[in-house]
Amino acid sequence: MVRSPTGPAADEAPRERVLVTRRLCKSYRTGHIIQGRRPALVDLDLEVLRGEILGYVGANGSGKTTTFKILMGLLKPDGGEVTILGAPLASRAWRQRAGYLPEHPYLYDYLTASEYLDYCGRLFGLGRETRRERARELLSLVGLERSADIPMRRFSKGMLQRAGLAQALVNDPELLFLDEPMSGLDPVGRRLVRDLILAQRSAGKTVLFSTHILSDAETLCDRVAVLRGGRLLSVGPLGELLKLDVTHLELLVSGVAAGAPGLEAASRAEAVGDRLRLLVEEGSLGRVVTAVEAAGGRVLGVQPVRRTLEDYFFEELGGAPQGAAARGAGAWGEG
């Protein structure tokens, strides 16, 4: 397992760890007559730092939801320790300061969104006026202010997801656990959730969210924890996880044909309209640029090819390496 240094910069004070798991384990019984055990989580050591957004990524069945359920007390772990906001897992005190959005939330369909938020507020011991205020604020925040008094059985999937988000924020939690928060949302909704998560961080809150949509993790997270088969594969800032693998550069050139002399140094050449896209190793950059100019062409731009999380992900999982080059997508986003 690759572990990158997660510490703060030298001149910052060490950040508080709001969630710590040590050797967390869980396995499920399988089979009806002959029972075996399928491990869902194996020796999970995870830390979440205050004020960060940690992405929890993995394929379906990798143990993401199991982790969340254990943290929320829906499943009992087979072993290990968990500390949340300084309190042990079993204590209810930390729940006053945390919020949770389950995957595919089901909220009572006979209630309206306002009523549901009011109910949740009561469970936190909020006063009536406070509950009313919070409900109004939150519904406005998630864009449901006009649907506040419609029974939730008439909500679309996206509306339910947003209502679910609202209920996770009722108590203005310091620590948010979001299980697939973008699922079921259209682009507008996804944007809303993204903004919301970023706003939480700006307000000093901590967010742990799981997703299998890697681009979301890329754009939002400070750090990413990658889960495979119930084990933590790697965790660290995105830049560090991916930086090591930046070895190629992409050149966009014009006025030169693919077979021009000197261009064989490029690993790949691809025509894009009347331009040429070349994939070049770092060390060969100079040679190729010279070759292009010698052939009378022009270099329009140079871009380092960054491996995406997806590439990393598929490589680590043993699938075919799907670099930007192999996929044919440009570093500038075309293709």
Binding site: Y28, K69, G99, Y100, H104, P105, Y106, C120, L123, Q167
Partner: protein, 258 residues
């Protein structure tokens, strides 16, 4: 303690709201129709028979409708929440499993109280409208019916914490039916002398004796149920309810929600 109570009450209030919105209380409409029709059709019999039959029908309907509600809503209380996973966001809050479980029980108990109360009112009204004075003695039968229903709910919740809603309903109905036959079990030695008394006693002990809650015939004839009997009945019911609720709570607490 205040926090615990207020959370439990919040769950109870929401449960009551759920039963109302799921139109459970519409059974009262059928009850009203039943009483009206019965009141009209019984005219052919003598005056004194009218009253007794009306009371019999009213009390039997309270018992039967109440039992149906207790079984079918009761089994849904826990299993529906688990199957639909509406439980998840709630348990992540400072709401313990115990508060949730007991809150659900309290909510349905209140629903049954309201339901029975409305039926009693309806019966008294029907009696009044057919020229009889309403008899407070009827309360002596209605209160034990409520106790029996609460025990039924406790069983329904126990079974629904252990298994699916459908199977839980079947098991609960079985317990209620066998419980009504408890006196037959107890008297088994008269009918089948070969059965070992230890077995009979064991069988009688593990099944609640629902006939303890049945004072319908007595009350229909205008006899009051003695306060001492009501007191002991209440104690009996309370003891059973505590045991069954406790077992159900233990099962609910131990459960993994996959």
């Amino acid at each position: 303690m205040g926090g615990r109570l207020s959370r439990t009450l919040a769950v109870a209030a929401n449960t009551f709201r759920e039963t109302v919105r799921e139109r459970v209380l519409y059974n009262l409409v059928f009850f009203a129709i039943l009483l009206t029709v019965a009141g009209l059709l019984l005219g052919q019999l003598s005056v004194r028979q009218d009253e007794k039959i009306l009371k019999d029908i009213g009390l039997a309907a309270m018992d039967l409708f109440g039992t149906l509600i207790a079984v079918f809503i009761g089994t849904g209380l826990v299993s529906k929440e688990i199957e639909r996973r509406s439980l998840y966001p709630l348990l992540a809050k400072p709401l313990s499993r115990g508060e949730f479980y007991l809150g659900k029980f309290a909510g349905l108990a209140f629903t049954l109280l309201v339901n029975l109360g409305a039926m009693l009112l309806g019966l008294l009204l029907t009696l009044l409208l057919t020229g009889r004075r309403p008899d407070p003695v009827l309360l002596g039968a209605v209160f034990p019916i409520l106790l029996g229903l609460l025990l039924t709910v406790a069983f329904a919740m126990l079974f629904s914490s252990l298994t699916s809603a459908t199977l839980a309903a079947v098991l609960t109905v079985s317990v209620v039916v066998v419980g009504r036959f408890a006196d037959v079990i107890r008297g088994m030695r008269d009918v089948a002398p070969g059965v070992p008394p230890a077995l009979v006693n064991a069988l009688f002990a593990i099944v609640p004796n629902f006939s303890n809650f049945d004072f319908k015939s007595k009350v229909a004839y205008g006899d009051a149920v003695p306060a001492a009997v009501l007191g002991w009945t209440m104690l009996y019911a309370a003891a059973w309810i505590v045991v069954v609720l406790g077992l159900g709570l233990a099962a609910f607490r131990a459960r993994d929600f996959k």
